[in-house]
């Protein structure tokens, strides 16, 4: 079986092949000493190759988070052959290998090309991998499938001649559902696909100057999406700040001009443009849509009685069903999230053996399709409910049955000081400490949906601004400290968290979080009132005191 996803044609294969030949030549020049590391740096960055604290890191693009079982097996093979037997799934729905050797990167890229993948535009000041809803094409609350549009944007943005040297990196996210699982309001451009066209949000972002995107257009027809994006990018390319790297993202330009003036400039640019030259024809959009039909859904009758009996007999399975499945557009199917957040292990990591199992279960139960979520988990978008128990048992055998999706231990965490040369503080060990504190399944289930997001520095790769509880690592005179933010959220009611209380040393953070959570449990009006609801009802200040040890 092969997954229903975009498949390369000769043009796409030729593009990746040409790019890989070019990069292999650049690596050869570096290895022979023909060029220095300084000269090589911008070249390798255009190919997703970073030099981190200890080794080269290769970031592989997973376009809009969609993977086939075949591609997942290739990741497993690369992890085994060229890395330390594991890989790290990122908040950009990509995959990073943290320990690759420079001399072997051309070979890795060759292997990736065999499964229609590459590492292009995963770094540098260009348009990055477009991200989207991990349940695209499956979710019950979806009104438009974002994947064909994400593919359209992927191609348009590949090697774009005008937008490869932008003031700063540029990230686009698309959702097509009622619930926003793609965090579109905290992206440079956020798109909400609706039957009547796109709502276009511009100027959202995190980092040192967090802001929520402004809606500058509604009802934009899909056939005009590319020309409108081109107009948005041209205004940014011409007028975005280039004098200060921290003020170079589009959010700063939009704030300086005001959203209305930015919109006016975009519309003027758009009106002047020869749109037919930029917009792909309807035939191409139809071609892209044709790659994303529903799978041939298994026709087997769903035995509800057996399903419920299995849950009664196996409480852990029942808990997993409750926490790790999402409503599917078909009653007899579910979308399954495989949590990569087991207690005490680095969030988002998967071993080669686990990757192989995920590929195997995707073939056996999931129409060969997988997704990466921006929460750093893996999704099987379509699973027949009659297969859930067997799926669960196979996942459980390789420690992939952690039943914590959306719960307090399902944290987004940047790599932090353990890997990253920018970080001020460690993130992963802190996440491990917190997850150990809330290890008790009963407690975690009682707390319910609560998102903790941790960044090891102000660049906010761990999305701390939009965590219900955000944690930011800072360096205070050589000592790692953590600031706590409360009240952020990245969904359709997006809001930025606010720094609350004084900074805490690492060892004090888990207990502080626990006091906040205990207070929430005391204050909530019912089991259904989530942490974020209580917080918004009673106000952030109510929780400020709980962050600090009672005197």
């Amino acid at each position: 079986m092969s997954a229903n996803m975009y498949k390369y044609d000769d043009f796409d294969h030729a593009f990746v092949r040409d790019r890989n030949i070019e990069f292999a030549d650049q690596v050869a020049r570096r290895l022979s000493g023909d060029i220095t590391e300084d000269q090589f740096k911008p070249l390798r960055l255009m190919n997703g190759l970073y030099l981190q604290l200890h080794a080269y890191m290769l970031r592989i693009a997973v376009p809009y988070g969609v993977l086939s079982s075949k591609q997942m097996r290739k990741f497993a093979h690369i992890a085994r052959t060229y890395d330390r037997d594991f890989g790290h799934f990122t908040t950009r729905q990509n995959l990073q290998f943290n320990w690759v050797k420079l001399a072997e990167t051309p070979k890795i890229l060759e292997e990736l090309a065999e499964v229609e993948m590459h590492a292009l535009q995963t770094s540098g000041n260009c348009i990055r991998n477009t991200t989207t809803d991990q349940f695209a094409g499956a979710a019950r609350d979806e009104h438009s499938d974002p994947r064909p549009w994400a593919e359209l944007i992927r191609q348009w943005s590949s090697n774009h001649p005008e937008f490869t040297f932008l003031p700063r990196k540029f990230k686009i996210a698309i959702t097509g559902a009622r619930k926003d699982r793609a965090a579109i309001r905290v992206h440079d451009i956020g798109l909400h696909a609706k039957p009547e066209g796109f709502d276009v949000y511009v100027g959202g972002g995190m980092g040192r100057t967090p802001s929520l995107g402004h809606c500058i257009r509604t009802g934009l027809p899909g056939e005009q999406l590319l020309s409108y994006l081109e107009a948005c990018l041209r205004v940014y390319n011409r007028y975005g700040r280039r004098d200060n790297i921290y003020k170079a993202r589009i959010k700063i330009l939009v704030a300086a001009l005001g959203p209305d003036e930015y919109k006016r400039q975009v519309e003027e640019e758009w009106a002047r443009m020869d749109q037919a030259k930029v917009d792909a024809p309807v035939a191409e959009i139809d071609r892209l849509k044709s790659f994303f039909p529903d799978p041939e859904f298994k026709a087997a009758a769903f035995d509800r009685v057996a399903f419920e009996r299995a849950q009664t007999a196996d409480a852990a399975f029942a808990r997993w069903v409750k926490n790790n499945t999402n409503p599917h557009k078909r009653d007899d199917h579910a979308s399954v999230t495989i949590s990569l957040k087991p207690v005490g292990l680095p969030p988002g990591d998967a071993s080669s053996a686990q990757m192989d199992v995920m590929a195997d279960v995707a073939d056996a139960f999931g129409y060969s399709e997988l997704r990466v979520s921006h929460e750093q988990n893996i999704i099987l978008p379509h699973v027949h409910k009659g297969d859930l128990y067997e799926l669960y048992r196979q996942l459980d055998a390789v420690n992939l049955s952690t039943a914590n999706v959306g719960k307090i231990t399902d944290m987004i965490v940047c790599p932090g000081l353990d890997y990253c040369s920018l970080a001020n503080a460690r993130s992963i060990p802190l996440a491990q400490d917190i997850s150990q504190r809330f290890e008790d399944a009963k407690l975690s289930d009682k707390i319910g949906d609560l998102q903790i997001k941790i960044s090891g520095c102000i660049n906010a790769c761990g999305h701390h601004h939009v965590g219900h509880i955000g944690i930011l690592g800072v360096d205070k005179q050589g000592i790692e400290f953590y600031q706590i933010l409360l009240g952020g959220r990245a969904d359709e009611k997006a809001a930025l968290g606010v720094i609350t209380g004084k900074g805490l040393p690492a060892e004090a953070v888990p207990a502080a979080i626990e006091r906040v959570v205990r207070l929430y449990l005391d204050l909530r009006t019912s089991d259904d009132e989530r942490f974020i609801d209580t917080l918004e009802r009673v106000g952030r200040e109510t929780f400020a005191g709980a962050l600090h040890e009672p005197a």
Binding site: D9, F11, D12, A14, F15, D18, R19, E22, Q26, R29, D34, I35, D38, Q39, F40, P42, L43, M46, N125, Q155, W156, S157, S158, N159, H160, P161, E162, F163, T164, F165, L166, P167, R234, N237, R238, R242, R272, M273, D274, K277, V278, A280, P281, A283, E284, R287
Partner: protein
């Protein structure tokens, strides 16, 4: 992007790979040379003076200059030098596309400044036709940039057709 050859003396090369002499002179803003000739004016000076001048001039456009202000004078402009003070500054790519695609400007567009072989592919696509490039073999740099890719995913200012156009060639 790479600067392996950036210590080389810049040479002027055309999009066809021919190394040519530079027949133009950049005038200082206070240079009062009045004659019509192959002179390049600074952007502000061009805006001030081109209205009252006859002949064919060159204009130097810096990254922060709004090239759209030149529209009324395009008939008097035979050469536009787009400056790249640093290779990371990508504003010049938009400048060239506006000239070619919005205005239909057919004169020469020349890239000057920190022009390195790794940028040439993008510049060719945006409508540049001369390059003051720092490279030990500028001619080879241009040829290899022009041949590097066979797939293009967007329409731009060059003749290459995007993949979507090739996929749906009208019968």
């Amino acid at each position: 992007m790479s600067q392996p050859n950036s210590t080389h003396t810049p040479q002027l090369v055309t999009r066809d790979g021919a190394v040519i002499p530079d027949g133009w002179t950049l005038l200082a803003d206070d240079d009062t040379t009045g004659a019509d000739g192959p002179f390049i004016l600074g952007f502000e000076r061009a805006l001030r003076e081109l209205d009252g001048r006859n002949g064919h001039y060159g204009v130097r456009v810096m990254p922060g200059d709004d090239v759209r202000l030149l529209e009324p004078f395009l008939e008097k402009i035979a050469l536009i030098e787009v400056a790249f003070p640093g290779y990371r500054d990508g504003r010049g790519y938009s400048t060239a596309r506006i000239l070619r695609e919005d205005f239909g400007y057919t004169g020469i567009i020349r890239a000057v400044g920190d022009v390195l072989r790794d940028q040439l592919f993008y510049m060719l696509r945006c409508g540049f036709d001369e390059f003051l490039v720092k490279d030990k073999d500028p001619s080879q740099a241009i040829t290899s940039a022009a041949q590097r890719f066979t797939t293009f995913y967007q329409g731009a200012a060059d003749a290459n057709r995007p993949a979507w156009a090739k996929r749906h060639t009208l019968a």
